[in-house]
Every structure is written in structure tokens, then in C-alpha cells.
């Protein structure tokens, strides 16, 4: 499967500061890929390099197999992007702003009306961009990204400044884009947002990728067991069962990679083995907990 986005040791320095440090990314066709990180982690710089706006200090970036430094026009032909805050001409209406972009790309005005409808902005299309609410600006930014029917859409913090209803609306829109076969590269610092819509994520911190993979694989799901003493015997008993794939210490408890419906079996096993159980329950980390965990590990 050819990657839609692939980077090789991509690096950007601004003077002495390393904004992006040797990152290797791979985004597959049709997926919603979350690019996570706190503000200032290097997400926007990475998007800038993927879009040819910022020149890498070293390393390479490929979009649809084309080297962005050498074949930018071919690489970006099927890419739509909204970077940072939606940027448009304040004195033009939403519709005219899209028409400017459509004319530059040689697209018919009909396409402008279609994307306005897609993001539910038709009723306010005649209003000036400067009079738009933050949510309307975000939606216009997404409409602009969709204008030329790209196969890859890069959205940088698309729910910034939106109320919960607006955030839900954007999340649904992102899901529908992916449903229509497009690849979405979603940049965000909102972990719950990424967790809800993305299949795979990369977590960036201080310019470096500290975790990358499927959301389901990164999140720990299993059974949490806290015993009263007898930890060694408990561990031996648990390791003897075929449905326990991994045991790790979690504070004063164990975190066991096992199906959630095995809770009663684990309890019976330990009790029969003479290990008193203080607590046993199904456990699932959120992306937020995972993020805090991996970023804390990096700091140690």
C-alpha cells in the first residue's frame, strides 16, 4: 500500500532551535490520521513542510509519492489544506473568497456553490468574511480545502475556537470526508477530538515523534487487579493462563492485557490460588492518559 504521506528524517531548524527533529511519518490512503502535540510541538511547521511552504533543513517529505521539494506542484495537486487560522480577504464575502481560489485554480463557480452547501454556509455566503463568527470562518476554511476535490485533506486545529456543537459538526464532517474515500491528516492538540475520529496517530513533543500507531493499539485496554500482598504468586498464576498476553505493573496494582469479560475468571483464579483480591475491574486508558504517560516518560 503506497503511503499518501511519507517523511524521512524530516527536520527543521530555526536558527539554534530545532522545531522538527528527524520525524518519520507514514499516512495510509483513506485513513484519518491524527497528528497530536501540545502547542509549539512543531505540528504546524511539519504541515508547512508537507505543503512546501517551509523548506526542511534536512530530510525528505513525499506526498502521493512525489518529493515535495522537487515536485511540489505534482505532489500538491490533490491536496486541500487549512493551516492555522482560516486566512481569507476580510473585505470579500465568503462566496467571493472561494471564487478567487476557484478562478486561480481554473475551477467553475458551480464548485463554489457545492462546497458552500457542503459546509452549510450557503445562507451566509454573501456576508463579508470579516463579519463571520469563528465557526463560520473554520467552515469556510474547510470549504476552501475541499474546493478542488482533493484526495488528501490536511486540517490544522479545525475546531479551534468552536463551541461544543461546532466541534461536533466539524468532527462529523471529517468522518464524512473519510467515508468518501479521502485521507484526512488532522492536526490537533485536543486529545479527545483525535481519539474520537482518528484511526492512527502520531504524537509529537518538542519536535520529535514520541509515539505512532493505531489508536486502538496505543490505548491500553485490559483488567486492573490489586491484590493484598502475594504479588509474586499472583503474577505466576496469571502468567500460567493462555488468555493473558502481558502483565505490567501499574502503581501498586497489575494491568493485565486480557479480554474484559475475563474479569470473573481472573478473580476465581487468584482466589483459588490463595491470593486475596482487593480490587478487580475492566480498565481502559484514554488517549489523554496515554499522551500524559508517554510525554512524562520522555521527561524522566
Amino acid at each position: 500500500m503506497d503511503a499518501v504521506i511519507r517523511t524521512e528524517e524530516l527536520t527543521k531548524r530555526f536558527g539554534d532551535r530545532i522545531a522538527v527533529d528527524r520525524i518519520n511519518l507514514e499516512v495510509h490512503p483513506g485513513e484519518i490520521f491524527g497528528f497530536l502535540g501540545p502547542n509549539g510541538a512543531g505540528k504546524t511547521t511539519t504541515i508547512g513542510m508537507l505543503l512546501g511552504l517551509i523548506r526542511p533543513t534536512s530530510g525528505r517529505a513525499f506526498v502521493f509519492g512525489c518529493d515535495i521539494q522537487r515536485e511540489a506542484a505534482a505532489a500538491l495537486r490533490e491536496v486541500g489544506a487549512m493551516i492555522e487560522a482560516p486566512a481569507f480577504y476580510p473585505y470579500l464575502s465568503g462566496r467571493d473568497n472561494l471564487r478567487v481560489l476557484a478562478r486561480a485554480a481554473g475551477l467553475p463557480d458551480r464548485r463554489v456553490e457545492e462546497v458552500l452547501a457542503q459546509v452549510d454556509l450557503t445562507a451566509r455566503a454573501r456576508d463579508r468574511f470579516s463579519a463571520y463568527s469563528q465557526g463560520m470562518k473554520q467552515r469556510l476554511g474547510i470549504a476552501a480545502a475541499l474546493l478542488h476535490e482533493p484526495r488528501l485533506i490536511m486540517l490544522d486545529e479545525p475546531t479551534n475556537g468552536l463551541d461544543p456543537a461546532g466541534q461536533l459538526e466539524i468532527r462529523n464532517l471529517v468522518r464524512s470526508l473519510s467515508g468518501s474515500g479521502r485521507t484526512v491528516f488532522l492536526c490537533s492538540h485536543l486529545l479527545h477530538e483525535v481519539e474520537q475520529v482518528c484511526q492512527r496517530v502520531a504524537i509529537l513533543k518538542q519536535g520529535r515523534i514520541i509515539a505512532q500507531g493505531e489508536v486502538a493499539a496505543l490505548l491500553r485496554r485490559g483488567v486492573l487487579v490489586r491484590t493484598i500482598g502475594e504479588r509474586e504468586r499472583a503474577e505466576t498464576l496469571l502468567r500460567s493462563t493462555p488468555w493473558v498476553s502481558r502483565i505490567s505493573e501499574y502503581g501498586d496494582a497489575f494491568l493485565i492485557d486480557a479480554p474484559g469479560d475475563r474479569t470473573a475468571d481472573i478473580n476465581a483464579l487468584l482466589t483459588a490460588g490463595g491470593v486475596p483480591v482487593a480490587e478487580i475491574r475492566h480498565y481502559e486508558t484514554s488517549l489523554e492518559e496515554f499522551f500524559l504517560e508517554v510525554t512524562a516518560e520522555r521527561e524522566r
Binding site: 508547512g48 511552504l53 506542484a73 480577504y89 467571493d96 481560489l101
Partner: protein, 290 residues
Amino acid sequence: MINLIRAEWVKLSRRPLSWILLTIFLVLLVVQVLVQFALTVGMPVRSGIVSAQFEEWRRGILFPGIFATALSHVNGLGGIFAVIFAAGAIGSEYSWGTLRTHLARDPLRDRYLLAKLATIMLTLAVATLLSVALASLLGVILAPLLGASMSVAPGDLINLIVGILRALYVLLPYILLTAYATLLTRSLLGGLAVGLSYIIVETGFGALALLRVLGGVWALAYNLTIGQNINTLTLMNRHAFGLRPETTAPLDLSQLPSPLQATLVVAVYSALFLFLSLRLFRTRDIAGPG
């Protein structure tokens, strides 16, 4: 390229700043013509240099001299307006962040910048045509009041076309210098400051003219400045329509560069500023607004 120019045209023609600048520019042209008219009809008969000056003003508001008045307005005050317009057209793309919106879709930066510069020149051409049209209208109104005819020879119309092209050519190095400064500073104000400063230094304070007094290499250097060569070209526009500013102003024609040198020097400056602008724009990071 044509698509980009069409898009740029929508942006510039819908922008309030364009209309504000055009309105002020045309109002100032009307004021200039009316002041010349008032001075011509309201003053008693004079003799000598004063009489020549009044006669020059009178010719400047009658056909075909009114064309020269319009074109010298374009190359005079119009230069300042053109610099403001160009700095606004390029610098606002940085301040609004719209540059990254465009370049993320179409990464061919040379093409984008050339389309923008072409559209700026196209807009200035429209402004020049409007000023010529307005001046002509004023000429039609004022000629009967001064008891003059409104005859325009076919040769005057050819001169007018050449004159319009020459007036736009004269604006070119200032526009490109402003473009370069705006790209360098990534700001409207930066471009404006450099563009206007150069015009002010050249015309307002006459600081560069001091070089000529020093003679030798300095005089040669002065003769290679933009302003000195542009003086030759703007004077050609006045002469083409029967005006003789050298009869009323301390202007030594022998000190001016030849038309050929003037044309070449303006071309070299324009090419240099265009090359620097393209090279800078091609290699620079477009990092966020501002």
C-alpha cells in the same frame, strides 16, 4: 497564469483601498487642472518668464497638452499612490495570512508573484486610462471657456498611446523596488517605507542631486539613478504634447541622460528588482501570518 491574473484582479478591484486611492488620485488631478485654469484666467497679463509659465499652464489644460498633464500626474503623485497600492497588494497577503492559503494550493511561487505584479501593472494601466479620460473631459469643458479649439491630431492619439506606455514603464522600477522591500520585510509598512523613502529622497530632498555637483564618478553615478533617467522619459511625454517645462523651470536638458540610456537604465533597475524579488520569494519560508 491567466487564471491567476483573473483571481488577482477580483482581489484588487474589490478592495476598498484601491478605490480610495483611485478617488483621491483623480480628485487631485481635477484640483490641479482647475488650479491651472484659475491661474490662467484670473491673473493679469504678464511678461517674461512669468508669462511663459502662465502660457505653459494654459497649454497644459488644453488639447493636446491636457494629455501631458494627466500623464505627468500619473508619474508624479501617481508614483506615490502606486507605491502604496503595490505595498498593500503584496504586504496584505502576509498580514492576512492569505499567502499561505494560496501557496498551499499552488506552490509555483514565481508564477504567483509574476501574476500579482502583472495585475498591479494592469490596475495602474486602468487608473492611467481613467486619468487621461477625466483630463480629456475637463479639457472639453475648459477649452470653450478659454476660447481655444478642441482639435486633436491623429499624431496626438499615437503619442497618447506611446505616452501611456511610457508612463507605466516609468512606474515599473518603483513598483518592483516596493515589491522587493515588501517581500524582504514581509510587511506592507516595510514596502511602503522603502518605496516612499526612495521617492522622497529622489524628489523631495534632492539629496541624490548633490552627487552631480561633485563631478567625475559621482556625476556618472547620479546619471545612473532611477530618478534622473525617469526625468528624461517624463520630459519626452511633455514634449510630445507641446509642453516645454524647460522654458519655465531650471532644467538643464544637456544634463539629462539620452532617451536610449534612460530606457535601458530603467530596464536594468526593473530587471534587477524583479530578479531579487523572485529569488527571495522562491526560497523563503512562508511561516504563518506576519
